[in-house]
């Protein structure tokens, strides 16, 4: 009753005083919303946007002693250096390929695992399995890579298996296998952890939907196809968009340790390249410039896929 009365008053006032009044009213009605958002926004201002000013060192020859105001401005010099590097396209290709393989193979895995876990009947088994699945997430890349190297060295177990199957390869020294190994490692490490979000999404599905479907005679496959998957589709789309934003960001530790002289041509990615040329050299301006490049590409991808997604489905980030 109150709501209806309020709406009536609003439209009356609207006709009389126009857009500013309306906006003002909107703000007052939503005042608690703004209040709620305020602490978070302050946080972002202080700890993210203030420091972001420092990104200008990408356009300077940053000198720690002279600081931001004292260092020379060099415009796009560092970007030019990046793009004109003989290995730029190589590094770009490697980074993109590993990322794309990651999206194609790694991204769906937690979804599949979550759906499978969701179907388990015995609650205890399900909970134990969940816990076991995400254990590798807690191991550092150092541990996982050393293990991989051991298993795939010339005397390693996995190597023996592969050779027994008829392939005469040294997995760690084979360029064609490198990207595959990296992808499998990523899946091993984080697929289990990735199920957590999807399990939470699955937990939010109204069980009445399943009841109604069963009564209508739908079997498990149909229920999964028409209820389960669509219900988590918005989560999937959002995560995919976010993942695309990180497309040029890979795990430095993993690629640094797994890289070696023989596979260098397929293993050098932006993060390892920047480490060598920026960080170790002490050239932080250059490192920052590369970071900006990666982020701009990511941003464009996010905006692009967000737009596409909004047009083709109801799910989108913005």
């Amino acid at each position: 009753m109150k709501e209806a009365a309020r709406l009536h008053t609003a439209s009356f006032a609207q006709r009389r005083s126009g857009i500013w009044r309306r906006a003002g009213r909107r703000l007052i009605m939503d005042r608690y919303m703004y209040l709620l958002a305020l602490p978070g926004l302050i946080y972002y201002f202080i700890f993210h946007y203030l420091p972001m000013l420092g990104i200008t060192i990408a356009f300077q020859d940053y000198n720690a002693f002279l600081g931001f105001s004292g260092s020379d401005w060099v415009g796009f010099k560092h970007f030019e250096r990046l793009f004109s590097h003989p290995d730029f396209w190589l590094v770009f290709r490697n980074t993109m390929m590993i990322s794309l393989l990651n999206i194609v193979f790694f991204f769906p895995t937690p979804i599949a695992l979550a759906l499978m876990l969701n179907e388990l009947r015995i609650s205890l088994y399900k909970r134990v399995l969940q816990t076991l699945l995400y254990l590798p997430h807690f191991l550092s890349w150092v541990v996982i890579c050393i293990l991989t190297i051991t298993l795939m060295s010339s005397t390693g177990f996995v190597t023996h298996m592969i050779q027994w199957l008829g392939f005469d390869v040294q997995p760690l020294l084979d360029k064609s296998l490198f990207w595959g190994i990296i992808t499998i490692q990523s899946i091993w490490k984080d697929a289990g952890w990735g199920t957590i979000i999807f399990l939470a999404a699955l937990a939010g599905i109204n069980p009445d939907l399943y009841e109604a479907a069963t009564m209508d005679g739908a079997n498990r496959w149909q229920q999964m196809r028409f209820i389960t998957v669509p219900s988590i589709m918005s989560t999937i789309v959002i995560l995919l968009i976010l993942r695309l934003g990180q497309i040029l960001n890979l795990s430095f530790d993993q690629l640094y340790i797994m890289g070696n002289a023989i596979v260098r041509d397929v293993a050098e990615v932006f993060d390892t390249y920047v480490y060598k040329v920026g960080v170790v050299q002490g050239n932080f301006s250059f490192a920052t410039a590369v970071g900006i490049f990666k982020s701009v590409i990511g941003l464009l991808l996010v905006l692009g896929t967000n737009y596409l997604s909004r047009k083709t489905s109801e799910h989108s980030l913005f």
Binding site: L41, G54, L117
Partner: protein
């Protein structure tokens, strides 16, 4: 009626087996680390595979627990994990709710501004300067406030809040509730799975705090676990800045490195079982019908 029944059973059986195998595969690296950590030092190599301890000993753990200041550092870590997670969850929830409502003017812009920080970052020096200016240097607050909200988590929560049926909130509005009450009484209650998830994410992140701790914390009494554990590992550093013969002479046993992994991860692993119950379904029943 029989055919779907059998197919369903086969699927269940396969499901159990496949998931079980995958879980075992996931367990085995940590198992190896655990085994090495309780074995006698001279048989353990960095890369070797061991499935059962040789010569059971807890000396690696003793080395860690006897380390000067261990209890204090452990306590600090508990504090930043518990308090830090609480702060993060409150801030994140309060921020996410308004941002999830399209009707709130500017919510899309604000959401974008939050997202933007996922991609663009000022870098080490500016962040350090801000923390310093705010007066947080060398305090535990420096490990809780600068990373209080993670944009990824905000976006997750926003997208979850958007899936809550409008009727739920509207029926509450009709009963006279304002936005705050709706948030805390209704929205949160129906979002327990995502709250549990983000709590876990923040807790793990806080527990694993390392780089910020090394950067912002200078005094021993404010240090946290991951930093202390790494101090026990002396690696021959290839960079010329640290070329110390102490490093050459006192290489730490591989077993201690393994024990370090266990001490670093076991406590946080124990949190998950407590959060698991919040992943249960069915909290929505009855709220609309009434």
């Amino acid at each position: 009626m029989r055919k779907p029944f059998t197919a369903s059973r086969i699927f269940d059986g396969l499901n159990v087996i496949i998931l079980g195998t995958i879980a075992a595969l996931m367990l085995f690296p940590l198992w190896i680390v655990l085994v090495k950590s309780v074995s006698v030092a001279h048989v353990v190599t960095e890369g070797g595979l061991m499935f059962w301890p040789e010569g059971f000993t807890l000396s690696a753990y003793e080395t860690i627990f006897q380390r000067r200041n261990f209890l204090n550092v452990f306590a600090n870590t508990i504090v930043i994990t518990v308090l830090g997670t609480a702060i993060s969850m409150i801030l994140t929830t309060c921020l996410s709710y308004p941002l999830s409502k399209k009707r709130v003017a500017g919510s899309t812009v604000m959401l974008f501004l939050v997202f933007f920080t996922m991609l663009f970052n000022g870098g080490l020096v500016p962040n350090y300067l801000v923390v310093r200016e705010v007066g947080l240097l060398d305090t535990l607050w420096a490990l809780m406030l600068p990373q209080a909200i993670q944009a990824f988590n905000v976006i997750i929560m926003v997208s979850f809040f958007r899936t809550i049926p409008q009727e739920l909130e509207e029926s509450a509005k009709i009963d006279g509730a304002n936005d705050l009450i709706i948030l805390f009484r209704i929205v949160v209650m129906t979002s327990l799975p995502v709250i549990a998830t983000l709590t876990l994410f923040y807790a793990v992140n806080q527990w694993n705090t390392y780089f910020q701790a090394v950067l912002y914390i200078n005094s021993e009494q404010n240090q946290v676990l991951q930093v202390l554990l790494r101090q026990l590992i002396l690696q021959l550093n290839n960079q010329e800045v640290i070329q110390d013969d102490v490093a050459n002479l006192h290489q730490v046993a591989v077993t201690v490195k393994q024990a370090m992994v266990i001490v670093a991860t076991l406590p946080i692993l124990l949190i998950y079982p407590f959060l698991q119950k919040y992943f249960a379904k069915g909290v929505m029943i009855g709220s609309i019908k009434g």
